[in-house]
Amino acid sequence: MLLKKLLAPGKKEKAVIEDLTRHIKLLCSGLDVFERAFRDKDRDLMASIIDLEREADVIRRDVISNIYEGAFLPYLRPRLCKFAEVIDCVFDLLEDAAYQYLDLVINASIQNYCTQIAALNGKIGEMLLLSFETLMGGGDLRDKALAIRVYEKKVDDIKLDLVRDLRKVEVKTFWDGKALSDFVSSLTSVSDIIEDASDYLQVINVSMR
């Protein structure tokens, strides 16, 4: 009992771990909301992503301040901070995509591709959460990292066809075209950044072994 208490993480460390878990769960919610909003063409639901992003910012700040108030050994701190910041990047992309969507009319020819990518983004987010939970449990992250890479490759394959069809879409003005292009760019970059986050978890995992 005493040994367990001695070997348990401290208060600050526990707070950081809980916040990071909340951060990733919030990301999964955000990705899920995005997918549903896009599929059902629900602009109000899409707008709620902006609130989720703000909430994520608050969590990120808590994580970083707890870390620099003395949680974990100095060796681990920059890596954990970087991980929180990478998750925040995904939220920023999701928020950008949500903003851009609100002013767009998505062409039917690319609607299907975008729906598939949004669904895959949701699955990648879930896999990242599984990865983090595995890290906390001391398991091997390799299969989760591979699964994320498989999903990311699928997104890349769809992106190839999406971009090809996107070039055939007629736009009225330069700004309409830019908005559409930015939306597709944000949507397709989400999986890349989540893959980076997964790689970061692997770095954290091997650095302490």
């Binding site: 598939q116 699955k123 896999m127 599984l130 299969d143 989760k144 591979l146 699964a147 498989v150 999903y151 490759k153 699928k154 394959d157 769809i158 066809d161």
Partner: protein
Amino acid sequence: MKVKEFMKTKLEYIDADSTVYEAVEGMLDKRMRSLVVKPENAEEVYGVITARDVVFKVLGKGLNPRDVKVSQIASKPLVCIDQDTKLIDAAALMEKLDIARLFVCEGKKILGIFTLTDAMGGSLIMIARSGHVA
């Protein structure tokens, strides 16, 4: 986990009377290893021409791809499965028939293609989710 989660929906078609050379062009251009061969007439069924067919039946035999029609080497009919087929059952079928791809169909409509790579990727994801393939 079902094949519909891992299948590719993007399919490329080629006419039955095209040459193998045109098929190779299409496969390389689209970075694919197979093309669906459209039926020549209403009585015919869909077929598939694969990179394996091109290499083994044409190039390996020293034939000129410009002289061989796609219909001469395509495999018919397509081996189809339902979209709700389990991953493991699809893999078993591929092993039994010694083929690298299955077509996911609903009646006469082709919904997508499920290949060895999709099976591998799907199995990885299943292992990551639950620790085993089943």
